[in-house]
Symmetry: C2
Amino acid sequence: MTKIKIGLFGFGVVGQGIYEVVRKSKNAHAEIVKICVRDPKKPRKIEVDPSLFTTSVDDILDNQNINLVVEVIDDADAAYNIVKRAMLRGIPVVSGSKTMLAKHLPELIEIQKTRNVALLYDASSCGSIPVIRNLEEYYDNDLLLEVKGILNGSSNYILSRVFDHKDSYANALAQAQALGFAESDPSFDIEGYDSLFKLVIITVHALGTYVAPERIFTYGISTIHDSDIQYAREKNVKIKLVAQVVKVSDEHFTMFVMPEFVTPAKYIYSVDDEYNGVVIRGECYDRQFMFGKGAGSLPTASSILSDIMARLNNYRYEYKKMNYIEKPDYTTDITLKIYARYKETDVQGILNFSKIHEQFISEESNYVIGEIPLRELLEKRSQLSGRDVFLANIPIFFLNRD
Amino acid sequence: MTKIKIGLFGFGVVGQGIYEVVRKSKNAHAEIVKICVRDPKKPRKIEVDPSLFTTSVDDILDNQNINLVVEVIDDADAAYNIVKRAMLRGIPVVSGSKTMLAKHLPELIEIQKTRNVALLYDASSCGSIPVIRNLEEYYDNDLLLEVKGILNGSSNYILSRVFDHKDSYANALAQAQALGFAESDPSFDIEGYDSLFKLVIITVHALGTYVAPERIFTYGISTIHDSDIQYAREKNVKIKLVAQVVKVSDEHFTMFVMPEFVTPAKYIYSVDDEYNGVVIRGECYDRQFMFGKGAGSLPTASSILSDIMARLNNYRYEYKKMNYIEKPDYTTDITLKIYARYKETDVQGILNFSKIHEQFISEESNYVIGEIPLRELLEKRSQLSGRDVFLANIPIFFLNRD
């Protein structure tokens, strides 16, 4: 058993959490040898021997002592460069950068194969909930039908405040930022991109297929109004920001991120505050529910620790499902039933509903409930940007869904 | 990638589920080559080529084609003999026999090491919930503090019927048996032995220590009365049969199985019917909750399938925590607060409470609430057998427990 000598990139909340957790874990046989940061002099909560810091990437990549790079920096492009360079030199990497991974996974998977080097990233999706590892190792069979969940703690915290504590949206957002749940750019959380990037990564391990983020319909919660909340309360449902990948037939699967009306019978109904919850559904085992802290310094660091320790046994992802005999193809050719609330925007002029179920017009706000192809939503997505339109999925078309 | 050729022992509900699941899974690259049963002529729900059946253990163990033994028989002694013989011949084994495993794990772990042969048994604990695998691979670090859960679907189903549907205990038990949740000997479920054996296995992977079942205090639900249910309802708690292993200090851990008063704030409060739920608590990641179907033909078979496919990559448990630097020791030297309801039995004459909090005496039934060392409960366990005494844990002594 070799000792793991870590070169750490990034020393923000997660990086500092890793430092603490590694120090606590005698059995990890791990040590942080160097920490690469932009500004070593920046005041930090944790006391660290200043000689550990460097501002030079090469100080870590050229260090023959270091046998693992752990990368938890906020800048996706910088992360990509570091991770790729490390891997090309044959240094295994543990990364928490979902944006970077969601954009570059195909290339990084290829490098893993051609250079025979590991890249682990369980912390990138749902923090301390071991979703990737379980999809890769345990649900690695033909039975898997669906992965659906609340993948973003920040937007879920906001929706919980608004629903359970009758806070205003603006207040709730400010509070999420104050508590450190929200990313540095809050639009990342509330517009659904954080969930989207996690869903892209999850889908690679759930069904063996990479789908580029821009091909996936994503709608966030920033346009939510009191009237939406009131509507949901009257119907006894909660509004949750839900990401899902679902097999719709033996040949096809679909995926999207959008607010959803969630009934009390669903597992994710009770996933509140900053928590994440993931439902894994399959033939034979039905629904498995995994629940825990999806973000934050120490929960994310504990997940990084699991990846670090996995390297003690030379663990790497095999991307088993990419080699499956018959993989389903991605489709947006399915029909959803949605709620679309608007004020000024001519929603029915933009979105071509295939069927209208309900229409409501008032001085305050208007809504329409109808059926619409997912393809249509994806195509018209850009026309809805910046508009006073809130959309929510009303799940009825796939039977028995959580 | 070699094809997995399976010799299957047992063709009851689980065995037949495995047959179905393996047939469904093209990507398992697995085939059932022989099925060893006691009576090939017994009528079964599934049509199977009769030439697959054999009554001879050696027909499978001597078959050079077979590279995996899957054992799901009901008789623990027979299972032990088969599993041990297979392993001694170097044939890897997947087993679902918790009783056998809980009794013989130390010897079977030794054989795995000396003969360099795999024994996988994720299905033995909580069916389709991947508890063992996650403890072994993901929560394999110093942070783990506690594993606590509802591990037996049958007793949980009975308690749910009694609590949520106001069924009588006798009715609920009969229904559990009719639905096939209960083991062939129902006392195994309702006296807590099923949970106990699972807890023994879980503890090996959670903290790296094997504790023999007879050293662990176990109390079931068979003595529950209407007055207990009424008491719990008045206090707004549910009674659940809970198994737990808890680190009580850096040096010690404790474990026991007994009914518990569970408040609505706890994750396991909403684990109803035949479901299982497990809370994994650790430093940094706090509480992770895993929830799913813990028993039944297909859920168990899907878990067996995960173990079968793990063999495609030559996966085996490393029992990492057994090699930990400082492992905590098992202790019963902790104090619990319990509720003890009785009718005729002189409970305070048998059990030496260290402190009495409440006492209630009536024509119908009596109870006492007090503090008692776990050691005392374990020592007096046999004196309570067959008595009209119901015990329930009132968790207060470990702070922040779920």
